[in-house]
C-alpha cells in the first residue's frame, strides 16, 4: 500500500508541472507576444478595435500640423493642412506615405503599444508624430519646383535630421480620392506624382560625383589638392572618349573641381581600384536605402568586368558610367563631408508622443561610421567653397555667407541633362545641407543652384544662423 501511495504522489506531480507550464505559456501568448498578435494583419478583431482608435496627427518641426484626424461619416478622416507641400510625406490614404509607414505608431499598437493602454478608459487615441521637416521649407521648395520634375532634400548638417524633402511634381492629397476618376487620373498621370523622387528616384549623379571622387583619392593619399593635371579637352581610355567643353589646360585638383573638368576626373579613375571604389561608396552610403519609414531605392554602379573595368572606373569617377543614386543619397554623402568626414544617417521622425504628451520614441543623431578623415573632409569642403565663390557654382552664393557646393549635369537617355546641385553652409560651421535635382533642366547651376540657394537661405534664417 505504501508503494502505491508513493507512486500516486509521483504521478500527481505530472499534472502539477503541466498546469504550471500552461500558466507560463499562457503568459507568453497573452502578454509577451500579445501586442504583436493584436496588430497581426489577419486578426479581424484587431481591425474592429483599430477602427475605434483615433490615429495620431503628424506635425512638422515647429508644431504645425501637416496631417490632422477628424471623425467623418465613414470613420476617421485625415485632412492635410499643408496640402501639396507635404503630400509625399503624408500620403493620400492610410496605405501611402507616412500614414502607412508609421501606422502602428499612429495607432499605438505593436511595439508602440503602451502597457497601460488597457487600463485607460474612454476612446482610445493613437500617438502623435513630430517630424524633423519644416513645413515652411517644404512650401518654399514645392513652389520653386513648380512646373519641374525632381526633388529637393535638406538635412541638418549637425544631426542628420531631414529638414525638407520635396518631390515634384506633387499633388494635393485631398483631391486624389475625391472620385474614382480623380484617382485614375492621378495614377495614370505621366508625370508620376505619386512617386517620391527624393527617396525612390534613381538619377546619374553627374558632376556632383566629383566631390566624392576627389574625397576618395585625397583620402587614399593618391593625390593632393595642388596636384596638377593637363586637360587637353579630351581623354581617351580603352577606346572610350571623355571630353570637356573646352581645354582647361594645366589645372590643379582644386581648379579641376571648380571648373568641373571631366578629363581630370576621368584620369582619377586610374588612381583607385574597383574594390576601393566600392569601399568608399559604402562609407559615403551612396547606394544605401534611406532609414526612413517610407519606400526608398538602392543605388547601383553597374557591373565591373575585366573588359570594362578601366572605362567604367573613369566614367564613374567623373559621374557618368552606370551609376544611379537617389537625391537623398547625394544629400547624405554631402552631409558626411560637412560633418568632418563622419557619416550620419538622416532621420525623419523627431519624436512619437503619447496622447498624454509623453515621448515614447525619439529620433536622434546616428553616426554610422567614418567616410573620410577629418583632414580630407576639410580640404574637400574648402574646394567646394571655391566652386561656389570662383567656379561653376556661383549662382548658389549667398551674401555674407560661405557656401560649399557642387554642380552637376547628369547626361541621361531621356533628353536634356538633369540639373544637380548639392551644397552646405556655412562652410566653416556647417548647419544645413541642401541637395536638388531637376530633371532635364540642362546645365547644373542654372536651375538647381538657385533652388538650393533659396531653400538654404530660408533654413538658415529660420535656425537663426543666417
Amino acid at each position: 500500500m505504501n508503494e502505491l501511495g508513493r507512486n500516486i504522489k509521483r504521478v500527481a506531480m505530472i499534472p502539477a508541472v503541466g498546469f504550471a507550464a500552461m500558466c507560463l505559456l499562457l503568459g507568453w501568448w497573452q502578454v509577451i507576444r500579445g501586442p504583436e498578435l493584436r496588430a497581426h494583419p489577419n486578426n479581424s478583431r484587431a481591425q474592429e478595435r483599430l477602427n475605434n482608435i483615433q490615429p495620431g496627427a503628424i506635425f512638422d518641426s515647429e508644431g504645425e500640423a501637416i496631417l490632422e484626424v477628424e471623425e467623418g461619416p465613414d470613420g476617421w478622416q485625415a485632412t492635410y493642412p499643408a496640402g501639396e507641400a507635404t503630400s509625399h510625406l503624408t500620403g493620400y490614404n492610410n496605405r501611402s506615405g507616412l500614414q502607412w509607414g508609421l501606422r502602428s505608431a499612429r495607432l499605438g499598437i505593436g511595439k508602440h503599444e503602451s502597457p497601460w493602454a488597457e487600463f485607460i478608459e474612454g476612446p482610445l487615441q493613437g500617438n502623435d508624430i513630430h517630424l524633423t521637416v519644416d513645413a515652411e521649407a517644404q512650401r518654399l521648395a514645392t513652389r520653386l519646383m513648380r512646373r519641374e520634375a525632381g526633388a529637393v532634400v535638406a538635412l541638418d548638417a549637425r544631426t542628420g535630421a531631414i529638414l525638407a524633402m520635396v518631390s515634384a511634381p506633387t499633388y494635393d492629397p485631398a483631391l486624389v480620392l475625391q472620385s474614382e476618376w480623380d484617382f485614375q487620373m492621378f495614377q495614370e498621370d505621366p508625370g508620376k506624382p505619386e512617386y517620391n523622387r527624393a527617396l525612390q528616384g534613381l538619377y546619374p549623379p553627374g558632376s556632383v560625383m566629383k566631390i566624392f571622387t576627389a574625397a576618395m583619392t585625397l583620402d587614399l593619399q593618391r593625390v593632393e589638392r595642388e596636384t596638377t593635371f593637363d586637360c587637353t579637352g579630351s581623354y581617351e581610355i580603352d577606346g572610350a572618349k571623355v571630353t570637356c567643353p573646352r581645354a582647361h589646360g594645366e589645372v590643379t585638383l582644386d581648379e579641376a573641381l571648380q571648373v568641373s573638368c571631366n578629363t581630370t576626373f576621368a584620369r582619377l579613375g586610374r588612381y583607385f581600384t574597383a574594390d576601393e571604389l566600392a569601399d568608399y561608396l559604402q562609407r559615403f552610403r551612396l547606394l544605401e536605402r534611406a532609414a526612413v519609414p517610407m519606400p526608398s531605392s538602392t543605388g547601383t554602379i553597374g557591373e565591373f568586368t575585366d573588359a570594362n573595368r578601366q572605362v567604367l572606373l573613369a566614367e564613374t569617377a567623373f559621374g557618368q558610367g552606370r551609376t544611379l543614386v537617389t537625391p537623398l543619397a547625394i544629400a547624405r554623402a554631402t552631409l558626411a563631408i560637412a560633418n568632418s568626414g563622419m557619416a550620419l544617417e538622416p532621420f525623419l521622425v523627431k519624436s512619437i508622443a503619447s496622447p498624454s504628451g509623453r515621448v515614447i520614441a525619439a529620433g536622434r543623431r546616428n553616426e554610422v561610421g567614418r567616410a573620410v578623415s577629418e583632414e580630407t573632409a576639410r580640404i574637400v569642403a574648402g574646394m567646394m567653397v571655391n566652386v561656389v565663390e570662383e567656379g561653376t557654382g556661383g549662382v548658389a552664393s549667398i551674401r555674407r555667407l560661405k557656401v560649399a557646393g557642387k554642380t552637376g549635369s547628369a547626361e541621361n537617355p531621356h533628353g536634356q541633362a538633369h540639373s544637380w546641385f548639392t551644397a552646405f553652409a556655412p562652410a566653416d560651421n556647417p548647419q544645413v545641407v541642401v541637395t536638388a535635382v531637376v530633371e532635364n533642366a540642362g546645365a547644373g547651376a542654372e536651375t538647381a543652384g538657385p533652388i538650393v540657394r533659396e531653400v538654404m537661405a530660408l533654413l538658415l534664417s529660420r535656425s537663426g544662423a543666417g
Binding site: 501568448w29 502578454v31 489577419n42
Partner: protein, 429 residues
C-alpha cells in the same frame, strides 16, 4: 443537533463565496447584454445546484471531501457565464444538464453503498466501454469531421467517449487491483526488461490498441491521448517502473509518426499546429483565432460580455478556454488553471489516503482523466500540442460531458467516504 463541524462550514462558506462571484459576474453579463439583472438568477442556479447537492450529500453521509464541490461549482459557474454570452439557448440547455447532473451525482452517491463493490463490475465496465466504442464506429454521426456522437431515439445525441472514460477508469482500477501481485512479480526478462507475462498484461495491451483504434477510426486525437495517458499512468501506479512508461511513449511516438505519414487528416492537424500562420484563413484559422483571443485578453482581459467569441470556431466547446482567457485575461485564465490544479491535487490526495487498493486506483484514474483532459485541451489552445476536439471539464458545453463529470465526482467522493477510515469531523485530515 450538534454544531456544524468546522469543515462543513468551510465548504458552505466557500460555496456562498462562489455564489457571490458568479452572481456578480452574472449581473455584469446582464448589464453587458442589456437584459434584466434578475436574469442573473440563471448562473446562480448553477451554483445553487451545487449547494443543494452538498446538503443532500451530507444527509446521506457527511464524511466526504469538502473542497471538490466549491472548485467545480466555480468552474461550472464561469463556464455558464461564458456560454450564456456566446449562445443563450445553449446555456439554457447546459443549465438543465447541470441540474440533472448534480441530481445524478447525489443519486449515485446514495446508490453506491460501498465503492469497493464496483471492483466486481470491472469486466462489465470494460465490455460496456468496448461495445460503446464499437457502436460509435459503426453507427456514429459525424459532427465537424469527427465521428463521436450516437443519436439516441433521434432526439438526443450522445457522446459515448465521455462515458467510456469513466468505464475505463473502473475497469483499469479493478483489473490492476486484482492482478496487483501478478503484474509486479510474475515477470520474465524480455530484451533486458522485466516484463509481466503476456496473459497478465494482455487486457491492458488490448486497451492500447483500442485507444489507437479510436484515434484512427474516430479521428479523435484528444480521446486517444487521454486513454493512452491513463493507461500509461495506471501501469506506472501498478509497477512503479518508469521503463514501461518510456516504452509506451516510444510506441506512441512511433504510432503518431505512422499516423502522420499514412492518414492525411492527422497530417493536416499536425501541420496546422506547427505552422498555422501559413494558412491564416484556411486550416490555421481555428488555432490563430484562439491565439488572437488570448492576445486580445492581455493581462486583465476585455471583461464579460465583450464581443469576440463570434470569430472563434467551436467557442462554446473546444475553444471555451480561449474565450475565458480573452474576457478574463491572464489573471482569470491562470485562476482557471489553478482551480484545475487544485481539483487534481484534492483528487490525488483522496487516492493516496485511501486504504483500499481499488479505491486508491479508482480515485487516481479519475484524477488523471480530469487533469489530462484539461491539459490536452488547454495545451491545444495555447499551441503547446495539436488542437483536439475535447471538452474542458465542467466549463465547456456538452450534455454527456457534464453528466459523466458529475458521476465521476460522485465516485471520487464515494472513495473518500468508503476507503479513508481516518476521516475526522467530515473532513480528510
Amino acid at each position: 443537533m450538534t454544531a456544524i463541524p468546522d469543515r462543513r462550514r468551510t465548504e458552505l462558506v466557500l460555496l456562498l463565496f462562489v455564489a457571490l462571484i458568479i452572481g456578480a459576474g452574472g449581473v455584469l453579463v446582464c448589464l453587458g447584454m442589456g437584459i434584466s439583472v434578475l436574469q442573473a438568477a440563471r448562473p446562480l442556479a448553477v451554483v445553487g445546484a451545487f449547494i443543494a447537492a452538498a446538503m443532500m450529500l451530507d444527509l446521506a453521509d457527511p464524511r466526504r471531501d469538502r473542497w471538490l464541490l466549491p472548485i467545480f461549482a466555480l468552474l461550472s459557474g464561469i463556464g455558464f457565464l461564458l456560454l450564456w454570452q456566446l449562445d443563450p439557448r445553449l446555456a439554457s440547455r447546459q443549465l438543465i444538464w447541470m441540474l440533472t447532473g448534480s441530481g445524478l451525482m447525489v443519486a449515485a452517491y446514495y446508490l453506491i453503498e460501498d465503492v469497493r463493490d464496483l471492483a466486481r463490475l470491472k469486466y462489465t465496465s470494460g465490455l460496456a466501454a468496448l461495445i460503446l466504442v464499437g457502436l460509435t464506429l459503426v453507427f456514429g454521426v459525424e459532427h465537424g469531421g469527427a465521428r463521436l456522437w450516437l443519436d439516441v431515439g433521434g432526439l438526443l445525441s450522445f457522446q459515448p467517449s465521455e462515458l467510456v472514460k469513466v468505464l475505463m477508469c473502473i475497469f483499469l482500477a479493478g483489473y490492476v487491483a486484482e492482478r496487483w501481485d501478478l503484474l509486479r512479480e510474475d515477470t520474465r526478462r524480455v530484451a533486458g526488461f522485466q516484463m509481466p507475462k503476456l496473459r497478465h498484461i494482455a487486457p491492458l495491451l488490448l486497451m492500447v490498441i483500442f485507444s489507437l483504434a479510436i484515434f484512427v477510426g474516430q479521428r479523435d486525437l484528444g480521446a486517444a491521448v487521454l486513454f493512452f495517458g491513463l493507461f500509461v499512468a495506471m501501469t506506472y501506479l501498478a509497477t512503479g517502473r518508469k521503463a514501461y512508461a518510456l516504452i509506451a511513449f516510444v510506441l506512441f511516438a512511433g504510432g503518431a509518426f505512422a499516423a502522420y505519414s499514412f492518414f492525411p487528416h492527422v497530417a493536416t492537424r499536425i501541420d496546422m499546429w506547427l505552422n498555422p500562420w501559413g494558412e491564416p484563413l484556411g486550416r490555421g484559422y481555428q488555432i490563430l483565432q484562439g491565439l488572437f483571443a488570448l492576445a486580445e485578453g492581455g493581462l486583465m482581459g476585455t471583461g464579460f460580455a465583450t464581443a469576440g467569441g463570434a470569430t472563434i470556431p467551436a467557442a462554446s466547446t473546444d475553444l471555451i478556454f480561449a474565450v475565458a482567457a480573452q474576457q478574463m485575461g491572464l489573471f482569470g485564465a491562470t485562476a482557471i488553471l489553478l482551480l484545475f490544479a487544485l481539483a487534481a491535487h484534492r483528487s490525488f490526495s483522496i487516492a493516496w489516503r485511501a486504504t483500499d487498493r481499488f479505491g486508491a486506483l479508482l480515485a487516481s484514474a479519475l484524477a488523471i482523466v480530469f487533469s489530462l483532459q484539461a491539459l490536452v485541451i488547454v495545451g491545444g489552445v495555447i499551441k503547446l500540442i495539436p488542437l483536439t476536439g475535447i471538452t474542458l471539464p465542467f466549463v465547456s458545453y456538452g450534455g454527456t460531458s457534464v453528466i459523466v463529470n458529475f458521476i465521476a465526482l460522485a465516485l471520487l467522493m464515494a472513495v473518500a467516504r468508503d476507503c479513508t477510515p481516518h476521516l475526522r469531523g467530515g473532513e480528510l485530515s
